[in-house]
């Protein structure tokens, strides 16, 4: 379970996230929505330890992100929204580096690397420098790296951007399997169709505050006049 308790983040002259509380239960695919500049990325960055938390607490499977940072980070597999990864490394070197970071045993890493990269169709490009990869390939190598240590919690920031239909399908299947094992998949996206199709639960953030949290059925029931998610989203975030 991930718990954000009264989390606040200030930038000079601006409050990006204000007194935000959110609980993400186990076994769910959790969609995180919001217009540009709503505080989505800031929240995710605090959840993954990239940004220090100004006020409040973030607990990841009982580990405090502020106090027990390293243990909390070990539980998470994070796919950032941009693929500015270590471009001068070869695909295989990057994966091995990530395996060293997460202490993945030798035998496991060999099988996992082969399995994941074959699944995403980048196995043959493993000996090339990441710099020569297309955006989609970079995304795939990052996703493969994240899954190497089999983390309990997946946090994915716009994970489907740039992926071809087959890889996108594969990743969505994997997300479902992961949630079915009782683990968490937390992801942000702008594509509302994906949310409708995939998510068990959603939260909508605007102006640094949660506007709605609940499951898809709840949401539709609460706003019966809105028969599609797009209109609902626009209504909820119209002041944005």
């Amino acid at each position: 379970m991930i718990e954000l308790i009264n989390v606040t983040k200030n930038y000079p002259g601006k409050t990006a996230v204000q007194d935000l509380s959110l609980t993400i239960p186990d076994g769910k695919i959790f969609g995180f929505l919001g217009p540009n500049g709503a505080g989505k990325s800031t929240t995710i960055k605090m959840m993954t330890g990239i940004l220090p938390i100004d006020e409040g607490t973030i607990m990841v499977n009982g580990k405090d992100m502020k106090k027990d940072t390293l243990s909390a980070k070990r539980i998470i597999g994070y796919v950032p929204d941009r693929s500015d990864i270590f471009l001068r490394l070869k695909g295989i070197e990057y994966l091995n580096f990530i395996a060293d970071v997460y202490d993945v045993p030798k035998e496991v890493r060999e099988t996992k690397i082969t399995e994941l990269t074959k699944k995403f169709g980048i196995y043959e490009a493993l000996d090339d420098h990441i710099q020569t990869y297309s955006h989609g390939m970079k995304q795939k190598i990052v996703v493969s790296g994240v899954l190497l240590h089999d983390p309990d919690i997946w946090i994915l920031d716009e994970p489907l951007t740039g992926l071809d239909p087959k890889s996108s399908y594969t990743l969505k299947e994997m997300m479902r399997e992961h949630a079915n094992k009782g683990k968490i998949v937390f992801f942000s996206t702008h594509v509302l169709e994906v949310v409708e199709q995939l998510c068990d639960e959603v939260a909508i953030i605007n102006h640094g505050q949660i506007q709605f949290q609940g499951n898809m059925a709840d949401m539709k029931q609460q706003y019966q006049e809105n028969d599609n998610l797009e209109r609902l989203f626009l209504e909820l975030t119209q002041n944005g």
């Binding site: 993954t48 990239i50 980070k73 070197e93 990530i98 395996a99 970071v101 690397i113 493993l126 090339d128």
Partner: protein, 548 residues
């Protein structure tokens, strides 16, 4: 024409913009300017003396035009050399190339826009070197007003021909040589050429050092007159310019000037035509890279488990070796100093080398140790690996933040990288010290251990400065080094920290022998290491997450 002007303006603005530069960076530029004034005066003084001496020696035989010929050949040579790297990087390797190609501009318009900055930098050199030289020549030859008028026109058009010639050659090579596959290698070769050029100039200057301020060169010129006129003929602009200025009042002078102007205009037209024809053909497809097929045969070897610190260190080293800018600015630059010394020593010939060895071995052990030590400070003070530690990561820095790695481990891996690269310099210097200068092993080992400490401290100083004010938002790796005062600050701090130590050891009567000197030396260095280490931890804690 209107569009060409638009693209020209936008490109100059983007390159010269101070937007996004912090106040301290701006102050740095001011500081650099003030710092350069004494150097400028020194250059002007040397130029004046050189031209004066040459003039006095050559005018009796009527050979004074050789001075101008030589000057123009020299400046043309510099322009060609500078243009080679600036044209390559501006036309082909800059990150913005692709965004301009997509816009509805003719190739020649983009090429003209892309020439703006390389051309402006040529005018910078032109103003520093050629303009004062022409004025000095005018003063020494007591020339009239017409000379100065012609000189200004010639000053204005001198960069055109070398630039155009180089740009056309570069565009030709890029069009036909299929360099796109070897983009990185081309960058490294151009970078290495820069250092070869620096060494070459030094060797040339050393050849002249036999006579002082141009007397040796006079001798060389008188002896090699035929050769020089031949060389001038290879650079027609140099030939025409020198004849025009030697005899500005004659019809020949005027007609050669008109000819020069004509050549300049024609070459610009040629440049635009060639640009229109070849530029896109050379630049398209540059961003593609080599592809191979992973067979998986070495997978077991490639997935070896390593300690986290070693893994991070290896990642850094690989990045430095594989990024052309990092390779030339960090590896080549730090090895430049020791290799340069080796080359100079070898050029000196055996006689003077053994003389030097005899001289050094005649010194007291303490003097030997301190001289070597002072020398190392200069060598290791220039430590680009350290002051680019954080900035090198650029936008990929944030990856360190979500991975479960402690800040201290990341920082330590970076420290070890610059320590390791300094180590390579120390090994080369050790060969010189032990085998060329025959310094005893005992003194060598004291020096070596002290140098390792210096290396550690200079690495910490550079790293601290970079951590304090890193440059992360670069689009081209060169921005990590270009226009940053950090290297200057680093060497300034090094000089203060170790200068104090040297002054104490050198002058305090209490340190009369090697034992007491070494004792104080190592105590001081250990204290420096301790303080550096403590401060680095503190800065890491304060700054690590706020770098981006």
């Amino acid at each position: 024409m209107g569009k060409m002007w638009t693209i020209l303006k936008i490109m100059v603005k983007m390159q010269l913009s101070m937007a996004g530069k912090s106040n301290s960076e701006k102050a740095g530029y001011g500081f650099l300017f003030v710092f350069m004034i004494p150097f400028g005066i020194l250059i002007l003084y040397t130029l004046n003396t050189m031209i004066g001496t040459l003039y006095t020696n050559l005018s009796p035989t009527g050979n004074e035009n050789v001075i101008l010929g030589l000057l123009f050949v020299f400046i043309t040579f510099i322009f060609i050399f500078v243009s080679l790297s600036t044209v390559l990087s501006s036309f082909y390797f800059a990150e913005d190339v692709e965004s301009f190609i997509a816009l509805p501009f003719h190739p020649y318009q983009i090429v003209i826009g892309k020439s703006a900055i390389p051309f402006l930098s040529l005018y910078g050199i032109n103003t520093i070197l050629l303009l004062p030289s022409l004025v000095f020549y005018g003063i020494h030859s007591e020339s009239g007003l017409l000379y100065y008028l012609f000189a200004i026109i010639i000053w204005l058009i001198t960069p055109v021909l070398p630039f155009v010639a180089t740009a056309i050659v570069v565009m030709f090579i890029m069009r036909f040589a299929n360099i796109s596959k070897n983009k990185d290698r081309t960058k490294v070769i151009v970078g290495l050429l820069g250092f070869a050029f620096a060494i070459g100039i030094n060797v040339l200057l050393r050849l002249d050092s036999e006579g002082s301020n141009g007397a040796g060169m006079t001798e060389l010129i008188t002896e090699q007159n035929a050769l020089l006129s031949l060389v001038t003929k290879f650079f027609p602009n140099a030939y025409l310019s020198s004849i025009t200025l030697t005899d500005p009042n004659s019809i020949t002078g005027l007609s050669f000037l008109l000819l020069l102007l004509g050549v300049a205009v024609l070459s610009i037209i040629l440049f635009m035509t060639v640009g229109q024809q070849w530029y896109f053909k050379g630049v398209l497809g540059l961003s593609g890279g080599k592809r191979s097929t992973f067979k998986g045969t070495d997978l077991t070897k490639q997935t070896k488990k390593k300690s986290l610190l070693y893994s991070l260190w290896q990642k850094e080293i690989k990045t430095i070796l594989r990024t052309p800018t990092f390779f030339t600015q960090i590896v080549v630059q730090s090895l430049f100093f020791p290799l340069f010394i080796v080359i100079i020593l070898l050029l000196e010939g055996n006689g003077s080398l053994s003389d030097m060895a005899t001289m050094i071995n005649g010194w007291a052990d303490k003097t030997k140790l301190l001289t070597l030590f002072a020398f190392t400070i200069i060598g290791l003070g220039i430590n680009p690996a350290s002051f680019s530690s954080i900035s090198r990561d650029g936008k990929s820095w944030f990856n360190h933040l979500y991975l479960p790695i402690t800040p201290n481990t990341v920082i330590m891996s970076k420290l070890l990288v610059s320590f390791f690269l300094n180590g390579l310099s120390l090994i080369i210097l050790s060969v010189v010290v032990l085998f060329f200068l025959n310094v005893p092993w005992g003194i060598w080992s004291l020096w070596f251990i002290a140098s390792l400490c210096v290396s550690w401290v200079t690495s910490i100083i550079g790293l601290l400065l970079d951590l304090y004010q890193p440059k992360m938002n670069w689009t081209d790796e060169r921005e990590v080094f270009k226009g940053r005062m950090i290297g200057l600050f680093a060497i300034g701090i090094d000089v203060i920290v170790f200068g104090v130590l040297l002054v104490i050891l050198w002058f305090a009567p209490i340190f009369s022998n090697t034992a007491s000197t070494s004792l104080f030396l190592f105590s001081y260095l250990l204290i420096c290491v301790g303080i550096g280490q403590w401060y680095l931890r503190k800065m890491t804690k304060d700054k690590y997450t706020s770098v981006i």
